[in-house]
Symmetry: C2
Subunit: 678 residues, 2 copies
């Protein structure tokens, strides 16, 4: 414990002030602290025993928390609910999903795709408060995930009865992965092919009742099963659903965008793209979640590294050396710390952009003209940026969790030190709400298209302003002065990202030149597009980070600037080929950059534990004996393991072990087989 106390003796910055800055202000920090305390004090929210629960117990415990949260969510201000959910997402991510499926996905679909009167109708039935209705979200199928347009479930309009017939025609059309379907939901927003008069109108959304709300019996024609055990997030009861000609009234199709009239006439919306705004929210929240989960992982790994000692420098009798004092350990953790700050600032900015966009979209909803075209342009940009960031940050966070876990040595493999489960819970973020690879390609496609438009004289959006110089095709920029200075690094990344985008453009054009269709030319350029999206996202993160440094209070600026430099320089060394190829850095400058990374690590190391303190998570949220604030790791780890696993006689000693130990080889005992005696 003295080991960690000495780490806090002389931080280079005011810890509390950094917490406020990261949270977005003192009042938010204080609200966050109230929520953390409230959760910690509620016995329902005990999480330290999660590893010892069975699947059945895990799900039941999660359900017992739903009511508590439903009451809070509907009685407290929305910002408080969002804050509470963002903390729950770190402490108890499986529960977050159990709850989020109803409020975020099911209710979100009603809100985003229902008309005002439809929304009012479902709210009157209790869809917001779960008083009468619990919902799930029926999009993916056994054979279809990313390609929503390819879903096979059908909703066929029957003009005779003014109903839709919802049907699963094939095995692969079985709704699959539907969170809440196995145990929880009475209703489902089902994505299905709208068919009217024999014609297909694409995938629309329909509210289908799954279970009787009084008896919980399955409705006629509805078949549901349990998907059972998953890699993580077992708190949520994912299921499969098959529909056999289930009839629903026409009014249960959500008609904010496309409408089906009594006559069977289909009215399509003027601005189909507006329906996609809703997708962005999930992605933005996953960028925040990446930052938040990474903070927890680094708190555990960094604090443990300040307590754990291993080997010495050969001085007899001296205590072993702290892990954190090894340059190689600094190299393992501190660039990840810098990445975590980068993600935090990007998440904040994306969230603000998203709210602004929603306001803008709300204003033009249903309208047209200049305002709408601005809004759609903004939507396209936010859609692409959020796609790239979601993919990039969830992968980055996943890597941070696993690196932090491995840095704990053997103790990282215990279920009681917190990061094994964190990995299993988090990794699904890389797949759901857009598979990361596909999102990166979408982002890359936007980058190529925007570069092409800019070449034709269209103005560049702010985040791509760096393309301007490259498009003008002047002399390629070169590093001048200090290779690790923040502005040098920004220029370096801008030039590399611009090159990557232009190289993707060239690949796309080479595809067209081969006579490929536009779609196939994009396919042909996919490796280059993915690369462009990655380089662009690094650059975006670094620019946002630098902007935050510039705006930060003077007392925080030095440490934040150092972290921003470490982020930019470490990432550049990891991709040194790009910088050498573009000629921005020479080989000698890359060597200087490596030396800069070493010295930046050593510098950040002095603040490492105070930086974890500034993340502001209580021991309850950190939920790992190795990441305790007081550094009393071994005693508390021992206590936790022994209290959750009390000594008991070996249950199968008599049935299995004794017979093993006491067995004799029968072949040695019996008489020889005799034959041919006659």
């Amino acid at each position: 414990m003295a080991s960690i106390a000495e780490e806090r003796r002389a931080p280079s910055f005011p810890i509390r002030e950094l917490t406020y800055w990261l949270d977005g202000g003192r009042s938010i920090t204080e609200q966050k602290e109230r929520v953390m305390l409230e959760l910690e004090r509620d016995p329902l929210w005990r999480v330290s025993d999660h590893p010892n629960l069975t699947l059945a117990e895990t799900r039941e415990r999660a359900m017992s928390k739903v009511r508590r949260l439903a009451d809070l969510a509907t009685s407290r201000p929305q910002e408080e609910t969002l804050l509470r959910m963002s903390i729950i997402s770190v402490v108890d991510p499986g529960f977050w999903t159990r709850f989020g499926v109803h409020f975020g996905l099911f209710f979100g679909a009603l809100q985003g795709q229902g008309t005002p009167s439809q929304l009012a109708y479902w709210m009157s039935k209790g869809a917001l408060t779960m008083q009468g209705i619990t919902g799930c979200f029926g999009m993916t199928e056994l054979g279809h995930g990313s390609n929503v347009a390819g879903l096979e479930t059908t909703a066929t309009f029957d003009p005779e009865t003014d109903e839709f017939d919802v049907h699963s025609p094939t095995l692969t059309s079985t709704k699959w992965w539907i969170g809440g379907a196995a145990h929880t939901a009475t209703h489902c927003t089902v994505y299905a092919q709208l068919i009217v008069g024999g014609k297909r109108y694409g995938t629309k959304t329909f509210v289908v009742q799954l279970r009787d709300t009084k008896t919980f019996e399955l409705m006629p024609g509805v078949n549901i099963g349990d998907l059972g055990k998953k890699m993580g997030r077992d708190q949520i009861d994912n299921g499969w659903i098959r529909f056999t000609h289930v009839r629903i009234p026409r009014s249960h199709m959500l008609m904010k965008h496309t409408k089906v009239l009594r006559s069977g006439k289909v009215v399509e919306p003027p601005l189909a793209q507006l329906a996609y705004g809703a997708l962005i929210q999930g992605r933005v929240s996953m960028v925040s979640d990446s930052a938040n989960v990474a903070k927890r992982a680094l708190t555990i790994a960094t604090r443990y590294a300040s307590v754990r000692r291993q080997f010495g420098d050969g001085t007899p009798g001296a205590p072993e050396r702290k892990l954190l004092d090894y340059p190689i350990h600094q190299h393992r953790l501190l660039p990840l710390m810098a990445q975590t700050f980068a993600m935090t600032f990007a998440a904040r900015e994306m969230t603000a952009n998203y709210h602004q966009l929603m306001k803008q979209l709300g204003a033009v909803d249903g309208a047209q003209g200049a305002d709408a075209s601005d809004a759609i342009k903004n939507l396209k940009e936010t859609h692409a940026t959020s796609a790239g960031l979601k993919a990039f940050c969830t992968w980055m966070c996943l890597n941070i969790i696993d690196q932090c876990r491995q840095s704990l040595g053997g103790h990282g493999y215990s279920a009681y030190t917190g990061l094994a489960q964190a990995y299993a819970d988090f990794t699904v973020h890389c797949t759901w709400e857009g598979d990361n690879t596909i999102l990166m390609l979408q982002c890359g496609r936007y980058l190529v298209a925007t570069a092409l438009e800019a070449r034709n004289g269209q103005p560049l959006p702010d985040n791509l302003a760096y393309l301007k110089g490259a498009l003008a095709a002047g002399a390629a920029p070169r590093a001048t002065g200090d290779v690790g200075a923040l502005d040098t690094l920004q220029a370096a990344w801008s030039s590399v990202a611009a090159n990557a985008i232009l190289s993707a453009v060239r690949a796309f054009e080479a595809g067209l030149a081969k006579g490929l269709s536009k779609d196939n030319a994009y396919e042909f350029s996919s490796a280059a597009r993915l690369h462009a999206a990655r380089m662009h996202t690094y650059t975006y993160l670094l620019h946002r980070f630098a902007a935050q440094v510039a705006q930060s209070p003077a007392a925080l600026r030095p440490v934040l600037a150092r972290l921003a430099q470490l982020f930019g320089a470490h990432s550049a060394v990891q991709h040194s080929g790009e910088f050498l190829q573009s000629g921005f850095y020479t080989g000698e400058q890359i060597e200087a950059l490596k030396a800069f990374v070493n010295s930046a690590c050593a510098e950040v190391r002095a603040d490492a534990v105070p930086l974890t303190d500034a993340f502001g998570y209580t021991d309850y949220v950190v939920n790992s004996p190795l990441g305790r604030y007081d550094g009393n790791v071994y005693e508390k780890y021992f206590e936790l393991v022994t209290s959750l696993n009390p000594q008991k006689p070996v249950p199968y000693f008599d049935s299995l072990i004794r017979p093993l130990l006491e067995r004799t080889n029968e072949s040695d005992d019996g008489p020889e087989l005799e034959f041919d005696q006659e």
Copy 2:
């Protein structure tokens, strides 16, 4: 199913012949097939239901298999047992550990560190066959893992009674992670500080009885607890052990190397290093395991990608496109395929080297002179190479598992598709028997030391022959001719590895020049050393791969050569900075290499499914409906999930869901609070 059948129509190579070549000969393939069939037919070895077992059931099931295997292991030829274990390590890795702790670690310690008469004694007590003794291996402690010399447990010689007093003096000295301790073991090989006459002689090994073999009661002074849930491998019952002045006879210290005589005289061995030969075996087997587990992961991901269809090229009515037909998907999987072949060949060569080394060490055991110095040189080299390979290949395989799992989309998150658990089970390979980072640094230290010796005129070992040119400091080599040719790639990697080693040498010397001690100068150069070890290991893998291509049958040579090129070229593109910095490739050549990787992927894609067939795993071993040979993935996946998760009423509907749905807000119901009426 037609989708996968068409993949097998025209392989470019004879599949069966490749299987023989990978396995090391037809007879081994056939033996392997017998073992796979035998396991598949044994109901004890059912593995498809593992995800649904509780921790207690998992452990009990594992114990029930121990006897079956103990009888087989002691009655069948050793090669067959090793082959069986290598398959079990893929199918049922947690059980492999449960069993391996006794045979590999406990019995291995008796064999490697006991005198012949000690070994005979313990064998007579049943230590080989588990007839009377089940063993565990007590090395790591709560506060000590990698630094074996720093272990705190003490074994103090008492000359009065001719006994050792084995004691855990502190909380951190608690033996921790001891596999088999919680439920299984009667005896333990305990690593403890030998203290004689008040003097410490370092860490030695002592056999301590933990439990009464008839009653399974703990022996006096022995305290054991259960470490409970882990990230993976729950089949093995890891525990903690504390000793409170436990007395054992002097003869229970394993004295093959250091001896304590009746008088208390300590006799140290002439060649202490020989004791470390045993460490190598575990590492070599983990290289094999990396290759074998990667084969399974790729079988699943590749076959699924040949069946799963997603999006189209816009042609109306056309079926969706196979994942495997997307260039980006080829990019995700096929370089991993090439890595898997590289690991397979490296594993084979390391295994052969290891057996040769053991023969050599056996011959000099106890002797000295020229033979011993040769053997020790060989030991040092094999030790370093195996350390680097273990670290590198376990990380590589871990990445392959996760990339393959992510490539399955949402279905990768199911516990029934095989790769979620594979990751959790496999990742401990990166930590145990030498934390990967520390092993890489050890390998790097050997590389620096060898380069320094070579500069002083010592001959270079074969695997480092490539340093010769770099040490001679002639002109740096440059690519000539075809950038992706196998010999060009070998030259490229050799030059980059040589540069990395020399750069680590310079960092080490810079440390010395600053006045640091030798150990601290090595610490100072750790980032460069780690990098050198990584570059060296890539180079080693590529050279071994090329050697195997050259020796392979003519019919296999084209496909193997293409895979070797893909391995070398893809890795080079991933590290393009190194090649640009060394000047081996120009920027244009790197672009050409990228284009080569694309075309190599497209070429290997045509053979992708046949290559998984050549891995030769039966559907039982693949153990994933998505990786089935016949491609009938959806039907079998649905069958598996539904059979393991039959429909049942929701267990907590009445207690939790009904009250949620039917609740009313109390505040709306009661009368208004009235006051101040007077």
